[in-house]
């Protein structure tokens, strides 16, 4: 119906994570992009409202767990209209043995977390020299 090519983003409701958890507060599953470079995996996660300090990354037994908390809304304001809910984030990923756990790094900007999971040297693509026989 629209012939022009400008793409419009469609919003989706946040997917709530149901966990057996005694801590209060909502948890949502963040949108992620997962890329594989020749030498590393990169995970980008949308964590709007979460600060760097509140992000917790844990890698154990091949499972990468990502948790983040969002500050409680403050003030005496009345909510008049809400299209999204606020809450923390939680997501788990199965990580292959190829990953060098000690080399995992993370950085964050504008609510987006970028996780870099380098592959261990043995699993990187290697160029095999062919010797003349």
């Amino acid at each position: 119906m629209s012939e022009n090519e400008t793409s419009e983003i469609q919003a989706r409701e946040k997917a709530e994570v149901l966990t057996e958890d005694t801590r209060p507060g909502l948890l949502f599953k963040p949108d992620v992009d997962i890329l594989e470079h020749p030498d590393a995996f990169v995970i980008l996660a949308d964590l709007p409202g979460a600060s760097e300090e509140s992000v917790d990354i844990h890698l154990e037994k091949g499972v990468l767990t990502l948790d983040a908390r969002v500050a409680e809304p403050s003030g005496d304001r009345q909510t008049r209209y809400a299209e999204y809910r606020e809450g923390g984030y939680h997501r788990e990923f199965r990580i292959s043995d190829d990953v060098d756990a000690a080399g995992v790094s993370a950085k964050m900007r504008d609510g987006v977390l970028e996780l870099r999971l380098p592959k261990s040297p043995e699993s990187r693509p290697r160029r095999i020299e062919v010797a003349a026989a």
Partner: protein
Amino acid sequence: MNSFLRHATRSPHPFPSLARELQREMSQAMRSFDSAYHGPRGVYPPVNLSESEEGYVLTAELPGVSPEDIDVQIEGATVTLSGQRKVEYAAGDGVAIHRRERQSGNFRRAFELPAEIDLDRARASHKNGVLTLELPKSPALQPRQIEIETR
């Protein structure tokens, strides 16, 4: 506008799915202006609006969008939020995409607030991917204590 919408849904259309999509898009455009409507689906970015005596606070989740890519216009009681979300990462030779959930593209939304905004005191801030608009109400609308003069 409303009469146009009704007409589009009643007239027989050679391509029914196209007619439904047109109706849905028109509905979404209309809902953006209707502050009493709760929870439209699919309109980006999702926003929350709260109110105190002094004014309104509008928040929008825009992870990965830098302030340079966001445009906020206020006219009277109408706030227009537009911009672009770029999801950029080095793609190319040797890069495989295993999962792609984060969307990119343009966005534009307009909101009709119940009261006029004091433009001079309106503020926009951006932190951790959340845009916050502080929109104080025009002074003329705020309740004021009137002192009783005694002679």
